[in-house]
C-alpha cells in the first residue's frame, strides 16, 4: 500500500468520525436539556407578599418557586444577638448587616442547606431555626451554627415595593 492512499483513508476516517460525533452531541444535548426547568416553571420567577399584618417576633412563610420563604420581623433582642456574633465563630461567615439590609426584616429561603428540609421556627440552640431531619441549628440571622448543613440559609433577591409589600425574585 502506498503512503498516499493511507493518508486519504485517514482523512476520510477522521472526518466521518468528527461529523458523527458532532451529530451525536447535537442530538444528545436536547435530550438532556429537556429535563431542565421549562418556560412555564421559569415564568413563576417572582412573587409579591403583603407583610402589613406581621408583628415583631413572628414569621410568615410563603411559597416561591415551590420553595418556602421565611419572612421574619425580628425583635430588637434578635437583631442584637445576630449582630454581636464574632465572624470566627461562624461555619459560613456572613455579616448580619449583609443578610438583612433592613435589620427588622430577615428574608431567606426556608430550606436547610444540608438536604433541603424546612427548618422549624424558634427552635434549636441558637434561638433561630432547627432542622428536624439531620439536626442543623441556625441562629437569628439564619446562619448555620451547628450540624451537618454547610451554608447559611440563602437570602433570595428581594425588595420592598412599598412599606407593606415585599417582592421576592
Amino acid at each position: 500500500m502506498s503512503e498516499k492512499k493511507t493518508k486519504r483513508r485517514d482523512f476520510l476516517f477522521t472526518a466521518t468520525t468528527a461529523v458523527g460525533a458532532v451529530g451525536a452531541a447535537a442530538v444528545v444535548w436536547p435530550m438532556i436539556d429537556q429535563m431542565n426547568p421549562d418556560a412555564s416553571v421559569k415564568a413563576l420567577a417572582s412573587t409579591e407578599v403583603d407583610v402589613s399584618t406581621l408583628t415583631p417576633g413572628n414569621t410568615l412563610t410563603v411559597l416561591w418557586r415551590g420553595k418556602p420563604v421565611f419572612i421574619r420581623r425580628r425583635t430588637q433582642e434578635e437583631i442584637d444577638e445576630a449582630r454581636k456574633v464574632k465572624m470566627e465563630d461562624l461555619i459560613h461567615p456572613e455579616k448580619d448587616e449583609d443578610r438583612a439590609k433592613n435589620p427588622e426584616w430577615l428574608v431567606m429561603l426556608g430550606v436547610c442547606t444540608h438536604l433541603g428540609c424546612v427548618p422549624l421556627n424558634d427552635k434549636g440552640d441558637y434561638n433561630g431555626w432547627f432542622c428536624p431531619c439531620h439536626g442543623s441549628h441556625y441562629d437569628t440571622s439564619g446562619r448555620i451554627r451547628k450540624g451537618p448543613a454547610p451554608w447559611n440559609m440563602e437570602v433570595p433577591k428581594y425588595e420592598f415595593v412599598n412599606a407593606n409589600t415585599i417582592k421576592i425574585g
Binding site: P37, G116, C117
Partner: protein
Amino acid sequence: MSDHDYRPKSKVGQWFNDRLPLLTLANHLTDYPTPKNLNYWWTFGGILTFCLITQIVTGLTLAMHYIAHADMAFESVEHIMRDVNYGWLIRYIHANGASMFFLAVYIHIFRSLFYGSYKSPREIIWILGIIIYLLMMAAAFMGYVLPWGQMSFWGATVITNLFSAIPLVGEGIVTWLWGGYSVDNPTLTRFFTLHYLIPFLILGLVVLHIWALHVPGNNNPIGIDIKKPSKDTVPFHPYIVIKDGFALLMFMIVFAFFVFYAPNILGHADNYIEANPMVTPAHIVPEWYLLPFYAILRSVPDKLLGVVAMLSAILILAVLPWLDTSKIRSAVFRPLYKQFYWILVADVLILGYVGAMPAEGLYLLIARVATTYYFLHFLVILPVLGFKEKTIPIPLSITEPVLGGNPNLAMAKQKESKIE
C-alpha cells in the same frame, strides 16, 4: 457441555430448533448440572425471580389506574385503594413486594458472602448482582415517591439533594433532576417514567446474571470446584425445581402475612398525608431496606464526605472479589472469617437500627463506630485474613464428606478404615 449435542425428537422440533435453538436452551436449563449439596440458602435466586415478576405484573396493573400528576397522584392512589376492583390487594402486593424483594436480596447477598460465591471465577456474576441491587434501590426510591405523600415528597427532596454535595455543578444537577427549583410535577412525571423503565433493565441484567452463572455453574456450601456432570451433581429439573418451588411456597406464606395482616407495618403513616412543600415531617426515615446506608450518611458530620461514605459503602461490594485475598471460598473452612462474617451481619443490623433512630447522642456514637467497622471489615480485615488465617483442609469432592460424615479429608479416611 452435553446440551450442544441435543437434538429434538420430533421432525417439527428439529426443523424449528435448526432455525432458532430455543429447544436447546430449554434442554440446557432442565439438564443443567447442579451441585447436589445446595442448601435452602440457594433457593433465593428463584425467589428473587418470582419477586421481580410479581413487581412487574402488579406494577403494570397499577399503572392502568395511577395518574402521574402532582395534583392527582395522591387521590389516584386512594382511588386505587377504594374504588378499583381489588385495587387494595394489587397495591398492597406491590408495596410489600418491594420489601419482600429486598428481604430476599439481602439473604441472597449474605449467602454469597458466607460461601464466597463472589470469588474467582464468579466475579462477573457478583458485579452484575451489585448493579441489579443498585437499580433495585433506584426503582424502590422512585416508586416510593409516586403516591405523593409527605414521606414521598420529603424523601425525594432529601435524596435528590444528595447530588448538591458535588462541588461546583451540584446545584445545577439538582435543578436538572427536579426540572424546576424544587421537587414538583416535572419531578413526579420523570420519576414515574424511570420507575417504569428500571424493572425491565433489571430483567435484562438478571438474564445476564444467570447466563454468567451457567458458565462456571453454581458455587456450593463447601465451596470447592466440582466436575460437571458427575456424582457430585444432579440435574436442575426435577431436583432443584422441586426444592426451589417448596422454598418459594414458604416465602409466599411470609409475603401473604404482610399483605393480608400487616400491610402498612413496613410503611410510614406520614405517607397517608398529601405532600406539602411548606412542612417537613418531624422525623424523616427511608424505608427499612435503606436504613444501614442512611445511618452511614448521617454518621459523617460533613455533607460531601457523608455522601461519599454512603456511596462507597455500596460500591465497595463491587471490588470485594479482589479485597478478599483468601483462596478458600466457603466460610465452613475458614474459622476466623466465619466469626468476622457474623460480626459484619450484626454490624449491618446495628446500622439499620440506628438509621431509624434520631441522629444524636448515643445513637450517633454507635452509628460512627458501626460505620468505621463496616469499612474496616472490607478494607483491612478481609485482605489481611487471606494471608494470616489458618484454614481447615477442604475435601476433594462433595461425595467424600457425605460418605465420610466429616468434611475433613484425613479424618474421613480414618473413619473409613475403622469401618473396614
